[in-house]
Amino acid sequence: MPAPPTVLHALGRRRFLIGAWPWRAIAYLASTVPVGVAASLPFAVLGLPWLVLFDRAVHGEWRTWSDLLLVPIGVLLLGTLGPLVAVPLADVERARLRLADTRPARSGHRTPPTDGMWSWLRTRYTEAATWRALAYALLLLAVAPLVYGALLLVVVLDVAWLSAPAVVHDGPVTLGLGTVSTRREAVPYALAGLALLPGLPYLAGLVAGLHAAVARALLRAPDDAELRAELVEVARSRARLVDAFEAERRRIERDLHDGAQQRLVSLTLQLGMARVHLADDAEAGVAVADAHEQAKRLMAELRELVHGIHPQLLTELGLPDALRELADRAPIPVTVRAPLTVRPAPPVESTAYFVAAEALTNVAKHSGATTATVIAERRADTLVLEVRDDGHGGADPGQGTGLTGLADRVAVVGGRILLSSPDGGPTRLRVELPWSGE
């Protein structure tokens, strides 16, 4: 049986009295008092107009209707300055909640978008968590004294009953339900007090548990909001990762291009010159010719590699040209239609490019198509990229065609992939991406 998460759960356990829970409940109740007192001071100032009005009404000193103006003034004070007290109070209360409730209770406050006082204030005054904290503060000051007072009364009464036989000889004692003046009369009270004694921890547990439940309900981020916030954060961090990845690819591409590629071309050029001056049938000439050929192959390989890391052409000339170049490389004739006049956001552009590259690779490998078409166009705020082929169809995203990886890439920029590939063809892969990338 798992450990009970809260006082209220523990109340139902047989071993409640011999465990730590009664003490935790008592600690919770006892620590409420200083917190409540500390909170009551600023709220007494804020609630001053209401207190004045209340006082006058009680003493029948109701003079004019203008006194009623005190009501909106009080509301205004509480509404403007109340949160400044309620928000730190809520922090304290969430920390104290652990005494009575072991479950994590995260604040429902959002992180302000920027540093600075103004941003903090604007965030705090426009979110539900702040006003729930204010509601909690008002409840704490209005209801808690009554409940805690009643509990204290019961405890004092029980102590009085228990000690009645000891103190009765000093004179008659009033014990709430009657007055006793002899020990004999006091004994039943003492017995009743003794019977009531084990009930006290339960009572304390109940009050602490109810208080904790109210605190938890008002001061904790609701589950779905927590989830939503986490989801948003996850989506953002995923987008950040992709951006960082993209930037890194560009950096690597540039470094390779400016460094290794340049050197290799220049080296190959030197070899080419040496080759011109050496007869091809001399031994040295053969060696140099061989080295030159190898260097040329290496140049081509390195260029392909760098291109795969990040297509320079895309960065420099944009999607239509890059798609045409892809089409040129394809083993079957590919028609490109890309009437784009402006360029979409870079992440969107490169996503579209990689989708097209992967799709054309698939077409060449699996489809048996003789021709393919790539269309990229803007529709309102969407970049639509479509790759069609006249192959035999039956493309299955589950077959490890690289489509799943593409779907991830597309999802990151907030787009979607659609695939239609009936048996017998044709296959159409379509990607819709938000033009501005979010």
Partner: protein, 234 residues
């Protein structure tokens, strides 16, 4: 024959030095070697060279400033031979360059060609002598794109088309394919006729016509069907 006075523009220092050294060794006189397009234009104004060899991608934006400078130079100096070196195949660039200026020598080559030293130098010489040269890779890719009329060409005619596009004269084509010049003339006539191109002896005009033709499919997809929605979603 006096050395060909050459201005070289390339932003990579290593390659610039290597190219300059190579050209010097093969009897070109490199009068200036610069690293960006503005310096290139300045050097041409200052030295009035016979030949410009420029990288297309140069600072500050690393896009097409070299190409734009080349096109402008061709416009202002119709007799200046210009060769642009490109990192990757760009049909539009090739066409812009070939179509610019007065039809004297011009070339659009992939940068990697420079390492085939003898061939590259030979190509430069042909361009200085007035030929128009497009990198074989450009032609190869464009040819692969076309299906219809190009498909009607015989293998031999296709070889001839490739060599026309690279700016070879009829006599050079004849030498390469081991044919008589008369036979080449007939092939060239057939190719131009099959592709509905105007007959032209001038290599520049011929190349331009071929390029224009090869690019003219303009990538139009067959109409219809683009509004139908694909069914399943991943």
């Amino acid at each position: 024959m006096s050395a060909v006075r050459t201005v070289l523009a390339e932003d990579g220092v290593l390659l610039r030095e290597g190219l300059a050294g190579m050209l010097e060794r093969f009897g070109f006189a490199v009068v200036a070697a610069v690293g960006d397009a503005d310096a290139l234009v300045g050097a041409v104004e200052q030295h009035a060279p016979d030949l410009v060899v420029t990288d297309i991608r140069m600072p500050p934006t690393f896009t097409d400033e070299g190409l734009r400078a080349a096109v402008a130079l061709r416009r202002d100096h119709p007799d200046l031979a210009v060769v642009a070196l490109s990192q990757f195949v760009q049909h539009a660039y090739a066409a812009d360059l070939i179509g610019s200026g007065g039809g004297r020598g011009v070339g659009y080559l992939l940068k990697d060609r420079v390492v085939d030293v003898a061939e590259f130098v030979g190509t430069l010489r042909r361009i200085v002598d007035g030929a128009t040269v497009v990198d074989p890779e450009v032609v190869r890719r464009l040819l692969r794109r076309r299906r219809d009329p190009v498909a009607r060409l015989s293998t031999r005619e296709r070889d001839v088309l490739g060599l026309i596009a690279e700016g070879h004269s009829n006599s050079a084509i004849a030498r390469r394919l081991f044919l008589s010049e008369a036979a080449v003339g007939k092939h060239v006539g057939n190719v131009l006729a099959k592709l509905d191109l105007p007959p032209a002896a001038d290599s520049n005009r011929r190349v331009l016509a071929v390029l224009t033709y090869l690019r003219s499919e303009a990538g139009e997809a067959p109409p219809g069907g683009s509004d139908a929605r694909p069914r399943s979603e991943l």
